[in-house]
């Protein structure tokens, strides 16, 4: 399933991109739909696509054992995930599961990296968004840790 640049403009994550950059994203991406409780990927899976949630809610967590899933947080509309696809070793640090029906745009990370080499502004914007996501997840984890330490 395909999307359009106009559709992407409605999503906060894509607000700062130019029309040309949005067209580029559309050309290297696809839309995927997931049912409730469907696993998008497991922790330690090798990832090939950067993803942004368009509709629905996802659960993000880690596993202590195959049957022991720890739910750490939710991903809401407009939020980025699967950032490990962009960086070596491309291994997922968490699992993702749909907790409502979800629509996700998946962007081919290899082609995305190739586009960054051609358009530095595109690369800088995207890397800034990924860095912000990772920074906020780290900050939230510190917050959770301090909550636990001060119980």
């Amino acid at each position: 399933m395909k999307t359009s640049a106009d559709d992407l403009k409605k999503i906060r994550f894509f607000e700062t991109y130019t029309d040309k950059q949005l067209d580029k994203i559309v050309s290297i991406s696809s839309i995927k739909e997931y049912k409730v409780k469907e696993i998008l990927f497991e922790q330690y899976d090798e990832l090939s696509d950067l993803a942004v949630l368009l509709e629905g809610t996802l659960s993000l967590g880690i596993s202590l054992a195959a049957e022991k899933r720890i739910h750490l947080g939710t991903i809401e509309e407009g939020q980025l995930f699967s950032w490990s696809a962009v960086f070596k070793p491309h291994i997922s640090t968490a699992w993702i599961m749909a907790i409502t029906p979800a629509r996700v745009i998946t962007i081919n990370a290899k082609k995305l990296n190739d586009e960054f080499a051609k358009d530095c502004d595109f690369g800088f914007k995207t890397m800034s968004k990924i860095a912000l996501t990772i920074s906020q997840r780290l900050s939230d984890t510190r917050f959770q840790l301090m909550n636990q330490l001060t119980l």
């Binding site: 906060r12 809610t57 659960s59 739910h71 750490l72 947080g73 939710t74 809401e76 509309e77 407009g78 939020q79 907790i99 906020q136 900050s139 939230d140 510190r142 917050f143 959770q144 301090m146 909550n147 001060t150």
Partner: protein, 273 residues
């Protein structure tokens, strides 16, 4: 000149005790005389022979014949309060301090970040804002608690989401099987809200750790220091600025606060301690 003894409490009859969570109860009190306060101001609530402690009322500041105070069981006085039944009498002194300057919120969007028992003063603020909603652009509440059972004022969220201009979101650090809302710390909710930051104020109230991380995230969103209001509840003490326990840098929280802008406090050491 008033001749009222500032140390003498007003007698108030406890008419209802509401269990909010395993550690938190709301006490509904009928004061012996009319009692008014500005949202964000606090009172001293006492039990004869046991002691008193400072609390910010959780009820509407528009109502003067009934007062609701939400109390978390944390020590000797609050543990005794939790054992009280309707029909008991308590004492009220106050109101004290500087509350929320709601007049400065006119024409603006109000983003409120709360955690744990910090929703108590926020509920009073929400009632006050509901009363003046025609003068506001939007009110957004983001609230976090540790677990679903720790989430207080459960009916409040549905109610707020049915009021024009109001949006309410909540999250828990750890969900159970029945929880179908967000999971994660309170700050994660800030990612989903849409605010016009330039025409907005932010209010933060909750445990010190949440206030610290919440304030940092709100600054990262683009809010200026003077747009952020903090309620420094944990520093409240005698209510009069006499005992000195409320000192926070150059301020007496009991007199100068408990509501401050971050701009006023940012250079004060250890404000989150």
């Amino acid at each position: 000149m008033s001749h009222r003894n500032i140390y003498k409490p007003i007698r108030a009859k406890l008419t209802e005790v509401i269990d909010e969570s395993p550690l938190i109860k709301t006490f509904v009190l009928i004061p012996a005389e009319e009692f008014s306060f500005k949202t964000g101001q606090f009172i001293e609530l006492s039990v004869d022979g046991i002691g008193e402690a400072p609390f910010t009322p959780s009820s509407s500041p528009v109502i003067t014949d009934k007062l609701e105070v939400t109390v978390m069981k944390t020590g000797y006085v609050t543990e005794y309060m939790h054992s009280l039944k309707p029909g008991a009498y308590m004492g009220i002194r106050g109101p004290y301090g500087r509350g929320y300057p709601v007049e400065k919120f006119f024409g603006k969007e109000v983003l409120i970040l709360g955690g744990g028992c910090g929703l108590a003063p926020i509920r009073s603020l929400l009632y006050a804002l509901e009363h003046i909603k025609d003068k506001l652009e939007k009110v957004i509440l983001c609230y976090g608690s540790k677990t679903p059972s720790d989430c207080i004022y459960k009916p409040l969220f549905n109610r707020l989401n049915n009021i024009e201009k109001f949006e309410a979101y909540r999250t828990v650090d750890k969900a159970d099987e029945e929880w179908n809302e967000s999971v994660g710390v309170a700050t994660t909710l800030l990612d989903k809200v849409k605010v016009n930051i330039e025409n907005s104020v932010a209010v933060v109230c909750g445990p010190p750790i949440m206030m610290k991380f919440g304030t940092i995230r709100i600054i990262e969103m683009g809010y200026k220091d003077e747009q952020i209001y903090l309620s420094m509840e944990k520093n409240m003490s005698c209510g009069l600025g006499k005992c000195g326990h409320c000192m926070l840098g150059e301020f007496f929280v009991c007199k100068d606060g408990p509501v401050f802008t971050y701009n006023e406090l940012k250079d004060t050491p250890d404000i989150w301690k």
